[in-house]
Amino acid sequence: MNPSILNNKDVWAGLLLIAIGAAALFIARDYTFGTALRMGPGFFPIVLGAMLILFGLYILATGLRSGAQIEGSWSLRALIILPLSLVLFGVLMEYGGFVPAMLVLIFGSATASTEFRFVEVLLFAIGLTALCVAVFVWGLGLPYPLLTGFG
């Protein structure tokens, strides 16, 4: 495939909209459309889904004509690490407690930076976790166990 298509901003933008619109329509196929007088739960979603597909087609066409490219990097490192740290936080809040969840979140997300420094971040994570325990758990009284057993 032509590499400029793979990096074509509006082609991807159009495809994204078409995908969202199509998904919206597909899921909404079971919702009653209703009549003009009594609109069913399906009316609004179906209209919106159709609109998105139209917008998507238009933007896709613009992209093919102009060939504008996506600028800058995808910052893949941050794009993977930051959501992953959040997910780990969520899991640890349920199975590990507030302290491990915070430590993992802060330390984990810090590794997303290219200027990551191990010792500095470790100290920072411990300090910030201590601060958050003091403010949110002891101060504001959020009902989170600091540490729970695994399993």
Partner: protein, 498 residues
């Protein structure tokens, strides 16, 4: 109703110890994030919103509003001293502000920025107080068709006037509307787009969307670019502007306030547009336009007044019509809804303390900001030395705690992670995220009003053009769309966006 009595009442609300405290917290946090590049008012308000649950509605609104206009003050500090816009609205201030700082005139530049902002803030507050009650009066007569058309106009205008690609903005509004209707349908009880997940039956959490897109997505974007080196332009020695500075600044401040107020009530235009327009006007009016870009004080005074007037006037449609004119205002509506207050014209009659208390607090907040920003400038400058590599993990931590504390649910954390990715992808592909938030907030209300209108009219869609007020909104919507299709306007718009 007399304005004077209402304002006195407002001050009696705003001057309570608690509300003064919330105001101070708000403007302090606002200045803080305004000074720091890489975190904006949208993300901050979204992150801090859960904290306001336990606060009274007035206090919550006062604090969140303080963050918003406080950020406008803080943003100019960074622009002048470091030549980096702390907020997007301060982009224009960099041009002449930084040059002044390099000439050893950072003090007067900061002072004029603060004075201009304060004056504009005062005028903006007065405008809200003057325009609010009559607007709300009119809006009280609105029925469902009027509301539907008004929201349609608001969304279209916001998308069209926003910076960036118009079609993409409109598409984002539609995406936002779709996200908004996830959950149980109020009329039929049907579960829409919930995938059988119980947590989704109440809809996608407002804070999840806002934090995901505006805090997490933003951070990912920031980490992609290289961290810019911050070089300090100059030491701040003397603060006071000379007589000549003052004389030169009066006109620009007045005109900037006017331009800012005008753009302020338009939906979708960010403060950056207002400040840019006022800068261009001053350059045109100047006797010697060549001075601009080389440290002309007019080039600081006008845009700073304009962006603050714009920020204040954005509250007018939100408070009186329940119509958000920008992403931040959508957050404010969300905050009110969480407090159990249905935003709209009734608010002023039912909760006068809310409206007048907020108006009075804005003036007090502006006064606090002058004090915070000028004598304490050294403290804010120090803050700029906090490296982003430590700042963003802290933002992540506060975001996570904020979201988790709403429902104590890990599911919402996972959803936030998803929205973070989605927000970043959208930004990469040139979709502006703010219109999505507007659509998301207005989605359920729009659908409800559409259904009610159709039920009322017996299924006749012409109801939107036979009701005169509604027809006016529809015509305005069509006009806005038509004007934008005119090639010349489109080209000019692209130029400004660049």
């Amino acid at each position: 109703m007399d304005l004077f009595g209402n304002l006195i009442f407002g001050f009696s609300v705003a001057l309570s110890w608690q509300n003064l405290g919330y105001c101070l917290i708000g403007v302090t946090v606002g200045t803080l994030i305004g000074v720091l590049p890489g975190i904006g008012p949208l993300g901050t308000i979204a992150i801090l919103m859960p904290i306001t649950y336990g606060v009274s509605p007035v206090g919550a609104l006062i604090m969140l509003a303080g963050i918003y206009y406080g950020a406008q003050y803080g943003g100019s500090t960074t622009a002048i001293l470091v030549n980096l816009p702390g907020e997007t609205s301060a982009v224009v201030t960099c041009i002449d502000g930084y040059q002044m700082a390099r000439q050893g005139r950072a003090g007067p530049a900061l002072a004029i920025a603060a004075i201009g902002s304060f004056f504009a803030g005062t005028v903006g507050t007065l405008l809200i107080a003057l325009a609010g009650p009559p607007l709300a009066e009119v809006a009280l007569k609105f029925g469902s068709p009027e509301y539907f058309s008004l929201m349609l106009m608001g969304l279209v205008a916001a998308a069209v006037l926003a910076q960036g690609d118009m079609v993409k903005s409109l598409a984002m509004v539609a995406v936002g509307l779709l996200f908004g209707i996830v959950g149980t349908d109020v009329n039929t009880g049907v579960q829409r787009y919930t995938f059988g997940v119980t947590e989704l039956s109440d809809g996608i959490g407002f804070i999840v969307v806002a934090v995901g897109v505006f805090a997490i997505g933003e951070i990912v974007g920031n980490l992609g670019g290289k961290e810019e080196r911050r070089v300090f332009g100059a030491k701040v020695t003397h603060l006071f502007p000379t007589k000549d500075d003052m004389r030169r600044s009066i006109g620009p401040i007045l005109r900037g306030t006017g331009i800012g107020s005008f753009f302020g009530v338009l939906p979708g235009t960010g403060p950056a547009i207002a400040s840019f327009a006022s800068y261009m006007l001053e350059k045109k009016l100047a006797d010697d336009p060549a001075r601009f870009g080389k440290g002309a004080i007019e080039g600081v005074a006008a845009p700073e007044a304009a962006n603050n007037a714009d920020a204040q006037c954005k509250f007018i449609p939100m408070l009186t019509l329940g119509l958000p004119a920008s992403g931040v205002m959508a957050l404010m509506l969300g905050a009110l809804a969480i407090q159990g207050i249905q935003p709209g014209p009734e608010v002023m009659a039912l909760r006068p303390d809310l409206f007048w208390g907020l108006v009075a607090s804005m003036w007090i907040g502006n006064l606090m900001l002058v004090v915070l920003n000028l004598p304490m400038i050294g403290l804010w400058v120090k803050l700029l030395q906090v490296p982003y590599r430590l700042l963003f993990p802290a933002i992540m931590a506060f975001s996570a705690i904020g979201i988790y504390s709403v429902n104590n649910s890990s599911f919402e954390i996972y959803l936030t992670a998803l929205f973070g990715i989605f927000g970043f992808v959208c930004m990469k592909l040139g979709f502006p995220p703010a219109p999505m938030l507007l659509g998301y907030v207005l989605g359920p209300m729009m659908e409800e009003n559409l259904r009610r209108s159709m039920l009322m009219s017996g299924g006749d869609p012409t109801v939107f053009v036979t009701h005169p007020i509604s027809a006016a909104f529809i015509i305005a919507t069509v006009l806005i769309l038509l004007v934008m299709v005119v090639p010349a306007v489109r080209a000019r718009r692209m130029e400004i966006a660049d």
